[in-house]
Every structure is written in structure tokens, then in C-alpha cells.
Symmetry: C2
Subunit: 355 residues, 2 copies
């Protein structure tokens, strides 16, 4: 009998379903995500909790999840029982937050099949339920997470008042407890120097723009996460409609900027894209930040049909596997930053069909 | 009957023989050149001359050259009768100086078969005889130019006194009238930041270090021209021996620097070389300066046997044909700087086997 795989190692075998390039608007929208903050009525919130209470929350949520059909094939991962590289790996997969990685004690994550749904346990709230979809698909993500929320509510008693809605550790999440976010690739708006104006407008409309890994991280490689700020006083569907309306405008601006690049600066654009391709096929050492920049340039080339040698699926895989913990998991051992840069370059050369 | 080719167009068909990569020390020394300054005894020197006298010098030298066996297949090119692009083309081939190009009236150049020997007429001196060889081969260049000088002296009476030797327009050339120079590729000394120390030492030993196109031009792409300063008071063979002795030391330093790069920084070195290769195979627009940098990196890769996809012959051809006038001659029409950068990128992609 073969030894059963560690659940993290099993994840390594494939790309997350939300990176499958199967959703709407794949040329601009990488993925859509909805997260619900929930707390158990009978246990103190994170700010006032203790070890014993946290341990109980973990067990109660674990038992509750065991009754959910949607989590039937899910893995329960105790953050304290896995290695630091595995924890980092989960951050890179957007399955846990950086805070969750940094404080693993009495914290867990439940990972659904294909990573489409997951639940962080004892993060800022007792439960942070998450649903991810490929492309621009907040509605599907909402349908899925709403169903999972209902299933969990059958066994778990969530803190809720008719006046305030769901109660959360931080008051900014109270109400629906919902945060919807979308990962966008906006290279043309960056090249045409229109991005700051767009992000400024988004903020005034009640949305937030962040880097790849959420709050406090910078946008790299022209990838941006846009999410709602308001969670209170509206229905979830209204909030989603509002985000989608604004996103559609951002997408239109990006499309116009791409058209403008093509008519005004085609030569420079092609040069940039093909140089990125040439570097990726030949470099012997590539940093994380450079990899994102190169992937961004090549993705733009593929999206604009200026390059037919590659597809977005390969780029999405690289997007995921070029990250530090992914590289170390692939290698099967810890690597220094310098070794990672070499391993990253090697992986990129292999995946884009050169050696 | 086909129309006879313009002599400049004939040159375009092939690479100069001195770029054939056939001489000694090809991994560090591109080419060796000897130039002799000669003046006709009976005509005023350039500083005191007039149009009529210059025209007579042109005719006298032309007739004299017609008697030389070595110049039997040579072309006499009146600088004033060719286009500006053709004049620039001759500079790029190292057949005429920039000054000769800029003031074409009553100036000419005699170009021997394969460009191994040539004679500028009415440059700073009435004759500037030149001999070029591939690799480190000043002795062959000397044998050739000495023979040509003798042949020309059979019909032309050169200004010479037993005390001062050959008289020249500028006193710094008086004596032998000889300048020997060698074009070196010293990328490892540049990368290891030892180049300034080496050039400083060279200068103290009576040699001069310059850029690709002689006086007043900067070294680009790690290519340097090293030549003697002293022309008076010594035999030509002594001068050449002295340069060769110093050059051998420079070459040894470059070899040591390459070894050091390989043992200390192999990963970065390979990265640099392969990136250059990737960019050359894919870029859509490349400037002159960048082309030299890329060619320098790839040449180093070939020389150090880190790259087997290319040979020095191809690199030498690109070295020549990436220059502005060469590109325009290839295209058959004048090109704006932006168009040249695109044409250059296209040529590079073609020559290194990618499209």
C-alpha cells in the first residue's frame, strides 16, 4: 500500500480550478473570489479568546464541516502541523491569509475539492468561508458560497442579529460579512499611465484596489485585486451588482487602452512582448518580481493575439508555480533565494518549451 | 549585359576579409590594422593646399596606384561622387575616417580586393595606406603594407628626410608615419571592473585606447582599439614588437578575468549570455548601442564555450551589418533611426536563425 499523500502535496499535482482559464473575460480577469466572515455565537471573538476556546472552535467547525455535502472531499489542515513552506504554499494558493500563516497555533484551513471552496478557521473571525471562480464570475462564486454557508449553518450557530446582520470581529465586516474581490490584469492601463486615475476613481466609488496577496501588498506585474469596502446595509446581490458594474467599466478602459497601444505603439508593444518571451526562454536566473513582469508582458501578447506560441493555461501554471513555496515543493527541499531564482528560470524554460 | 555594380554595392555582398575570424587569438582580438602616413614631395601639405593642388594629388595617386600589382583589382572611389550613405558605409567598414566622410571634396579612397589594403587620398596626409588582418596579426599586416608602400614608392615620390624620416602634416606622425592598432574584445575585464586600471597602464606605456571608430569615440559593447602613440625614433618592427608585448599582457589579463568569472559567477555569467541570446532572437527593435552590447555578451558565450548555437563568423557579420549605413544599403533606401532599429532587429533575428 502506498503512503497516502500529505494533502498539501496533493495540491501540488495540479493547478487550482480558479486558474483554469475557463471563466468569462479571461483576457483581463484572472479570477473572482467571495469571502464570508462568520463567527460562532457561543464562543468569544478572536480579540477576547483563549487557547482552550480556540481549540474548541476548531473542533466544532471541523465537526460541522463534516456534515456539509460540499466539503465531502475536503481536507482539514491544522496550520500548526504543517511545515513553514507548506503554510507559505497555502498563502500562494490564496487559501489562507498571511496572518493565518504567521500565527499557526489553533488555526486551521478546510480545503474543498479543486480549491474552489475553503474555510479558514480562527483567522480574524471563527470562519472565513471562501469561494473562487475562474474569470469574471462573482455570481457563480456567490451561488456556491451561499449554498456552503447554508449547509454550515445547519450545524453551526452563527452570531447574527436582525438589526446588524452577521457579527464580526472587526466592525467593518459586520452586516453581510461579505467581501467580493476580483483579480485583474491591467497592463495597458499601466503602460498608458491611466492606471492611477482609474484606481482613484474606483476608491471613490467604494471599492479598494490592492496587490496580489491582499491588504498591504503592492501591485506587481500589472495584476490588481479589486474588492468592495462596504458590507453593511445592502443585500449581497446588490453589492455584487455594484462591483460588477464598476468592473465592467474598468475592463472597457483596459480594452480601449490595448486598442490604443496597438494603433499608436504596435512596434514597441511587440518588442516588449517578444523580449519577455526571449528572456523567459533563455534566462538562467529570474526573481519573483521579474517573473510576474515577464508573465504579464507575455499574457498581454497572447491576449492581443500578437503571439501564438503560448496559451494562458501555461501562463497561469507558471504564475502559480513560480512562487517561492511552490518552487521549493517542486524541488522537494528548501532553497535559498538565489537557488530559487535559478530553479524558477529552469521551470520557466521547461514550461515554455525550451531547455 | 548586366549593369556593372557600384563598387560600394559590391562590398555589401560580403564581409571584409579582416572579419573572417581566421587570424590568431580570435576569441579576444577581432582585427589588426597598420596605417602609414605618406605625402607627395612636390605638393603642398593639407594645411597649405588648394583645390587645384588636391585634384592633382588625386590624379597622381590614382595613376601611381594603377602601377601597383597589389592594387590590381582595386576600386578608386571619389568620395564626392558617392552618396552620404555610401560614405558612412565606408566609415563603418573602417576604410575611411569620419573626417574623410565629412569633407568629401577632392578626396578619394582606393579599396583593394577583400578590403585587406586600402589608401585614403587627401585625408590629413596625401596618402593614408592601410592594411588589415583578422585576429592578432600585426606582423602580417606589416609585411603586406610594407610591400604596398614599396610598390607605390616606385612611381610616387614621398616626402622623406634621412634625419626625420617620412614627413607628415601633423608632427606626431612624422618618422615611420606608422600607426598600428588592434581591436580587442575585453568583456571580462569590464565586468570585473579591471578595465580602467588596464587602460591606464597601457597609456603610461605609450599606447592609446579608443572606441570602435578611432579617436574621440567611446568604447561600446566592450570593444576597444589599442594603438601606438610614438612613431618617431624607432624602426617599425620595434614599434610592432613593443605593442605586441603589451597586447599579450592585456590578453592574458582578459583570459584570467574570464576564468575568474567562470569560477566565481558562472550562474550570472550564463544568465547574461543567454538573456542576450533570447533578446536577439526575439526583439522587434534594437539600437546600435544595444546591438553591440548583445553581440559582446554572445561573443563571450561562444568564446567561453558556454553556447554552441552560434559561431563567431555570424557574430562578425552582424557586427558589421547592424551598423546604420549597412542596414540602409541592405534595405536599398534611407531609413529613419526608428526604422533602422526595426530593420536591425529583423536582421538579427534572421541571422541567428529565428523569425
Amino acid at each position: 500500500m502506498s503512503k497516502p499523500l500529505n494533502p498539501i502535496d496533493a495540491l501540488l499535482k495540479k493547478t487550482s480550478t480558479w486558474l483554469e482559464d475557463s471563466g468569462p473575460m479571461p483576457s483581463i480577469v484572472i479570477s473572482s473570489r467571495i469571502r464570508l466572515a462568520r463567527n460562532l455565537d457561543k464562543y468569544p471573538f478572536a480579540v477576547r479568546t483563549d487557547d482552550e476556546s480556540m481549540l474548541e472552535v476548531m473542533n466544532v467547525v471541523r465537526d460541522g464541516a463534516a456534515h456539509s455535502k460540499m466539503l465531502k472531499k475536503a481536507h482539514f489542515v491544522d496550520m500548526d502541523e504543517i511545515s513553514e513552506i507548506d503554510r507559505q504554499f497555502l498563502v500562494e494558493r490564496h487559501l489562507v491569509s498571511r496572518e493565518h500563516m504567521q500565527n499557526p497555533e489553533f488555526r486551521a484551513v478546510i480545503i474543498g475539492d479543486g480549491e474552489a471552496v475553503s474555510v479558514m478557521v480562527n483567522e480574524e473571525d471563527h470562519l472565513r468561508i471562501q469561494s473562487m471562480e475562474s474569470g469574471l464570475n462573482l455570481r457563480n462564486a456567490w451561488t456556491t458560497i451561499n449554498r456552503l454557508d447554508d449547509e454550515l449553518a445547519e450545524t453551526l450557530e452563527f452570531a447574527f442579529t436582525p438589526k446588524w446582520g452577521y457579527l464580526t470581529c472587526c466592525p467593518t465586516n459586520t452586516g453581510t460579512g461579505m467581501r467580493a474581490s476580483v483579480m485583474l490584469h491591467l497592463p495597458a492601463l499601466v503602460m498608458q499611465k491611466q492606471i492611477n486615475k482609474i484606481l482613484h476613481t474606483i476608491t471613490k466609488l467604494g471599492l479598494a484596489a490592492r496587490g496580489l496577496y491582499g491588504e498591504g501588498t503592492e501591485a506587481t506585474g500589472n495584476f490588481f485585486q479589486i474588492s468592495n469596502q462596504v458590507t453593511l446595509g445592502r443585500h449581497e446581490e446588490e453589492l455584487i451588482e455594484n462591483i460588477e458594474r464598476i468592473l465592467n467599466q474598468v475592463i472597457e478602459h483596459e480594452q480601449n487602452a490595448r486598442e490604443a497601444l496597438l494603433t499608436q505603439n504596435r512596434a514597441q508593444l511587440e518588442d516588449r512582448i517578444w523580449r519577455a518571451y526571449g528572456i523567459m526562454g533563455n534566462a538562467r536566473t529570474v526573481s519573483s518580481a521579474e517573473a510576474l513582469d515577464l508573465l504579464s508582458a507575455i499574457r498581454l501578447g497572447v491576449d492581443m493575439e500578437l503571439m501564438s506560441d503560448l496559451d494562458r493555461t501555461t501562463l497561469n501554471e507558471l504564475f502559480l508555480f513560480c512562487q517561492p513555496a511552490h518552487l521549493q515543493k517542486l524541488e522537494g527541499s528548501a532553497l535559498s533565494p538565489k537557488e530559487r531564482d535559478m530553479k524558477r528560470a529552469e521551470l520557466i524554460r521547461q514550461r515554455i518549451g525550451k531547455t
